[in-house]
Symmetry: none
Subunit: 122 residues, 4 copies
Amino acid sequence: MQFDDKVPIYYQIKNNLYHRIVAGDLAPGEKLPAVRQLAVDLTVNVNTVQRALSEMVTEQVLTSKRGVGNFVTTDTARITALKQRLSHGYIERLYTQLHALRLSDGEIVTAIQAYITANKEE
Amino acid sequence: MQFDDKVPIYYQIKNNLYHRIVAGDLAPGEKLPAVRQLAVDLTVNVNTVQRALSEMVTEQVLTSKRGVGNFVTTDTARITALKQRLSHGYIERLYTQLHALRLSDGEIVTAIQAYITANKEE
Amino acid sequence: MQFDDKVPIYYQIKNNLYHRIVAGDLAPGEKLPAVRQLAVDLTVNVNTVQRALSEMVTEQVLTSKRGVGNFVTTDTARITALKQRLSHGYIERLYTQLHALRLSDGEIVTAIQAYITANKEE
Amino acid sequence: MQFDDKVPIYYQIKNNLYHRIVAGDLAPGEKLPAVRQLAVDLTVNVNTVQRALSEMVTEQVLTSKRGVGNFVTTDTARITALKQRLSHGYIERLYTQLHALRLSDGEIVTAIQAYITANKEE
DNA sequence: GTGGTCTAGACCACC
DNA sequence: GTGGTCTAGACCACC
């Protein structure tokens, strides 16, 4: 995994885990690798990994069992909510970018529909 | 203007100018500040500004008159094409991101329409 | 390689490479000498070589692999297009010159055909 | 008139006069401006102009009347020959260039005919 | 090693 | 003054 210097590493780790969970790459209830193992894999400090995971536990995306490990939540509604939160963020960013180009709401819809149509025809 | 270390400065300058031209902030035919002035304003080297501008001249988004200055193209069709190129790129990125979250084409459309509807109600 | 002061060196380097590629002297996919080596060979600065090559990469006549080298495109259609672009330019220049001598279109055709015929008989 | 540093100035003056004569800009029998006037107009040394003119007198393209001035030849056959010499040179150069691009004789003919046809349709 | 970017500074061309 | 080109040299990214 490559890190972008501009964003805190713990934040990028969270994002990576978010994506793997939403994509089903890490299934509900699945045990994550040990914190120390993750730290080695990502070549970052254990504390950095710990911070990422503890925040995700607070968000109830992960559950932590002392002395056992960290697990993906089994509450699929929460995963769905996470998925919506992430996609909403991406969509919002697109809107900001297109508005900066002075596209009206109508033009934005048209542009996106044109893209979808072109893609479907492929 | 702040620069992100991850992408070349000349590239960010180009992008900034693209946006200002598409947004109409820099009108067709308008003269840009002198390269040396831009360099001072952006606190970068003249050569870096030159690289950005000369590429835009090659793309025919700008025209250059030696000993006079650089000007935004008066060919509005070219500006429209630029606008489409930029927005297409942003939309494409959104698609990549949402596909990474395992949203199907249908779900992507639904999510965007939901966002649009929510925005309109505001 | 000798350089003519009237046209930019990077431009002459491009032109020389164009000819070598179109003539097949540099084959599709072939690796070019390292930029620093080219700079030594041509006794110009590395940046001047870089400028020539980077423009050709933009034109997709060359491809660049960071840390590896620059390569002639394997897209032969692009080389064919380059060949046509160059020859069209040369032909256009001839027309301009002959028109300046007040040769009509008809006289130009006649003159060229006469030259061709004379050459064939050689 | 602009001079190219790579070619002797007297040679460029000759060429300029050749073109004006062939184009009929300087008619058969027409008196040329005084040598000193030409030198001023072209901002070159009188000797440079003198050399150009004396060579053209030797070539019998000009005639010189001592104490009167220099005149374009009234021998139109000679002007026609000059026209052919110049156009032949330009055509020859084109052939050299296109052969360097590895165009066969047939391809050269085809390319030129395509250009002529495209031009006629304009 | 190989390409890519940037700075500093010089000099030229056109006005 | 304004843009265009070139050099020298440094440093970074990818291998």
